[in-house]
Every structure is written in C-alpha cells, then in structure tokens.
Symmetry: C2
Subunit: 100 residues, 2 copies
Amino acid sequence: MADELFRALSDRTRRIILDELVQKSGQTLFEICSRLSMKHRLAISRQGVSQHLAVLEAAGLVRSRREGRYKYHDLNTAPLRHITERWPAPDAPEPEEKTP
Amino acid sequence: MADELFRALSDRTRRIILDELVQKSGQTLFEICSRLSMKHRLAISRQGVSQHLAVLEAAGLVRSRREGRYKYHDLNTAPLRHITERWPAPDAPEPEEKTP
DNA sequence: TTGATAGGCAAGCCATGACTTGCCTATAGT
DNA sequence: ACTATAGGCAAGTCATGGCTTGCCTATCAA
C-alpha cells in the first residue's frame, strides 16, 4: 500500500503527470500525452503514459472515471498526507486536532 | 534535487531506516544494521545499508556527523515538505504566510 | 456498416538500481 | 606495535521497471 505510493512517486514522468493534473483536472489519456509532448518535450508513447497512469491509480494518487469512449483522470492528493505523518517534524510532534 | 528525494523514498529498506531514525536519532551504521536485522528481519549486508544511507544523505533526508571512528546519522524531515507543497490539497489552495 | 477515435492487453528490450564480495583506511584499546 | 572495531571504495551480479511495438476492443459519426 505505502509501497505503491512511493513507487508511483519515484518516476519523474509520473510526477510531471501529477503536475499537469493539478493545473487541469479531468484530463483524458490523449490530452495528457500531448501535454507531455508539447510542454515538457517528453518523447513517450501513448502506451507508456497509460502504464504510468495505471501505476498512479494503483497508488491512489489518480482517480479515473469512464464516460463513453473517454476516460477522465483526476488527482487525489490524500495519500500524500501519509508521508508527512509517517516522519513528522521533530519540533511539531503532532498536528493538533481541535477538540470541540 | 527533487529526483533524489523521491528516489530515496522509493526503496522500502530506506523507508524503514528513516523509521528507525525517528525512533532514535544519531545512530551509527552498525546500530542501524543490527536494528534492521533484529527488529525487521532484513538480511542485508553492512555495505548495503551504507549505500542506502548515502542515497538518503544525497536526498537531504539524513545528516551525518563524524566523531572519531564513529559516524552518527540524524533524520531531516525538511525535504518532505516539498512534496505536499508541490501537489497541494484542492480545498486548502495555499499554505498561508503570516505577513508581519 | 464503415471508418475514425479513445483506450487496453501482452510480449519483449534494455537500462537502472539493489545487493554482495573483496579489499583498503582510520581510529581506539591493550 | 599489534589487533579489533567502524567505515569506505570498487567491481560484478541479478532483478525490477520503463518503454516500445503490435494487435485487439469499444464508442461515436457519416
């Protein structure tokens, strides 16, 4: 579970895909492909991007929803919280919960 | 720079090393080796652990200080902040800076 | 129905990275 | 001085992972 998260983040192209999903959510595979090619000069096949998205989805960092022949991808930053929770800052030992 | 950070976090053994440094900071190489072997049943050579520590240090996640023939290792969680800053939560758009 | 578009599956290639082994250096104790 | 301890360097092995290629399925438009 945590393994898949860190594995997903370990690749540079996947991190750029996350960057693009921050800028515009709900992108399709082809849209991500063209952005990687145009904006980032990344020469990568459509299949390569598809495999990256699968890894990101397995890590919970990307949610996908199918509509007709399109498949839209959304970013989910929730799993990233686990990282800072696992190795907390020594000065701020715990993120305080406001008790009501 | 960011590449080294995520590369360092991508390995399971390295993440466990970080866990151990949370529990006790200033550990020596041999101390980390024995903890990995005892507590986590990880069969890894001393040299393997040494290489892991080098990767963690290159990522800025571990600081080391030499004293005599001992080399002590300390955890530094500062680089982890960059992760949540790079892909912020959609509800909390920006971590507010308190203007004085 | 045919063609075009969006995406998926599977096998194969190749480079990166984790790990070991062997040997070397430096500090501390007797 | 000699020995043990703590650590470093370098080469070599082997598996994982990123990427491509080729082919297949599904949806929409004409």
